[in-house]
Symmetry: none
């Protein structure tokens, strides 16, 4: 109970992130998580009712933080371009800080339309909707063009970022530090400025 005592629940969650990222949710075993965490098999079930609940917990913990970040960007009265940049920046920093966790969230949840994506579709949509509201407001303010549906624009924005993360995930390589900053700029430039032509 001392402050120094390790929080085994946290240890298990962190181990699960590494294992899910490395092997994937469906391909790993609960014993892999226990081994990675350095705890006994049964302790995983002392803290979580099932393997699925571990992934749910990881997703919800992080996604709620992201929803808060998006909400904060939405509330701020900065120009819409900077609001979008703040969101892109938050997601990309999340990846920089813990690529395994973001890999798990993207690969095992937000893109898993048959399993966890379906479970958490409401939460996922909340993010899209908030982004869409930022776009819609900018359209009403005459800052963004109005002939593109705001929900569609939100899909473009979020889809681009997720594709970037997917690219990094597939590469399997550490991302150079400067690329993170560069991509933030390019995301906004792409969405707001377009390619021309």
């Amino acid at each position: 109970m001392s402050a120094a005592a390790v929080d085994k629940r946290r240890v298990i969650l962190d181990a699960a992130v590494r294992v899910f990222a490395r092997q994937g949710f469906h391909t790993c075993r609960v014993s892999d998580i226990a081994d990675e965490a350095g705890v006994a098999y049964g302790l995983v079930y002392h803290y979580f009712p099932s393997k699925e609940a571990i992934l749910d917990t990881l997703f919800l913990e992080r996604w709620d933080v992201m929803l808060a970040a998006i909400a904060e960007a939405e509330r701020s009265d900065r120009p819409p371009r900077e609001q979008l940049r703040a969101i892109a920046s938050f997601i990309i920093e999340s990846y920089r800080h813990d690529p395994d966790l973001m890999k798990v969230i993207v690969v095992e949840v937000t893109r898993a339309a048959n399993t966890f994506g379906r479970t958490h579709v409401g939460k996922i949509m909340q993010a899209h909707e908030a982004i869409g509201r930022i776009v819609a407001q900018a359209q009403r303010d005459g800052v963004f063009r109005s002939d593109i549906d705001s929900a569609f624009a939100a899909q473009a924005f979020y889809g681009l970022i997720e594709q970037v993360l997917t690219h990094w995930i597939f590469s399997g390589l550490p991302v150079p530090a400067e690329e993170f900053e560069h991509v933030k700029t390019e995301v906004v430039e792409m969405i707001c400025g377009g390619l021309g032509g």
Copy 2:
């Protein structure tokens, strides 16, 4: 052996599409595919060495058609905006024609970084690269702005389309006919024109 005889291999593949789309690759059983196809359990193994091979076949069949379509767009000497529209149109028409198949490809392969995505990463990248070459050529021709990396632009383009498909997939509803056409236009408009701001 007669020409009129049903091609059981094809029947199995088509059944697998429906089953994978409905239940997901990891959650369905080989017997589900056999049942859906109306064939005996063991016959699946007469035509395919494993459950994975069925998905591989489905993916490669369709992806090669798509690579050909992209190559054709690349070869044509139409303006880059129209080349991109042709590609977007092809993918969206693919979904319109067989949403289950596209769902399987997107959900179970191109977004499955731990399993089939890894297996087919080379094929997947070929599409991105071809799109990137179209962008790069347009940049050399001065049609597209050059301060955005062509590979990044390709991610934006492909990521947007995949996000649109994902949205349709998650919705679980049939897409209104007019939306298909509308989206083709919006994709190109979004990528080329941007939102402004």
Copy 3:
């Protein structure tokens, strides 16, 4: 498919009888049944959805035969004393013919008020009720005394037989052939004649 082919489902059921009788339902493992039957583990689940379903099947198979025998006794127009003797005889012969099966039915089902007894209470009651009807009819006919509740008399009759079986089961020894016949007589004598006093 030939007539000579062993019916593996039957083999598994028969093996389960021996294993349940020897080790008890809760204490045996499905693998024990498979081993006893000489089949692979998974085959048990090819024929039965669960371990419980095996016991259910064994019980229902036998109990339905017994209900038929009781119904036949009830339908006959022999004196009630002989009707009761026919029923006692049938149950005791069932034990003589396959003591393991009767042990399983008595120990794991009809006396298991928290598990299978509850599941099959309806079927079990059908037997008691049929016996009660025989007694009630005899009371209406003035053959049996009427100041004892017919349902209570049925409990006495069935409870006595089950107690005899339980005694044999607990003893763990083979029952001498002559004891079977003797007991049939004593059961009826006890129920109809009483001890006196």
Copy 4:
């Protein structure tokens, strides 16, 4: 250590009665008992070496009281019919006073030929034997007929009472007060007088 202090061991035993009665010995968990008792998980193991030991304790506590009651009936010089009635009365009153405890003893021990019944078969038989001695003595005194084996008569007597309890247990309903008295009479009437016919 004060006299007013609750006896936690007793609290655990009483809780175990309720849990065993409700869920059955095999289907309940030790933590269920701890929860029902309102004590910590590990405390159960402070007082009892195992889950089985709890049931053993419950059974032996009560069964020894019953053996004493039977012995007292046996020692008394009342007519055998009244001796039997005293025993029936004791068992039925035991059920009236604590139906959960009697349910546990009957269902989990005296009828569990593969598990606890086997463990306690000696104790169980002592009861049957004592009843048999009462019958045998009555036969020697010429009060009971002698052509029925005394051990068999004991089985009939005890089997009838246990069947009545089983019936009440299966019904799951509270037993009307007058039924207790009525049954005591009917048991003796049935065993001594029989149905006639």
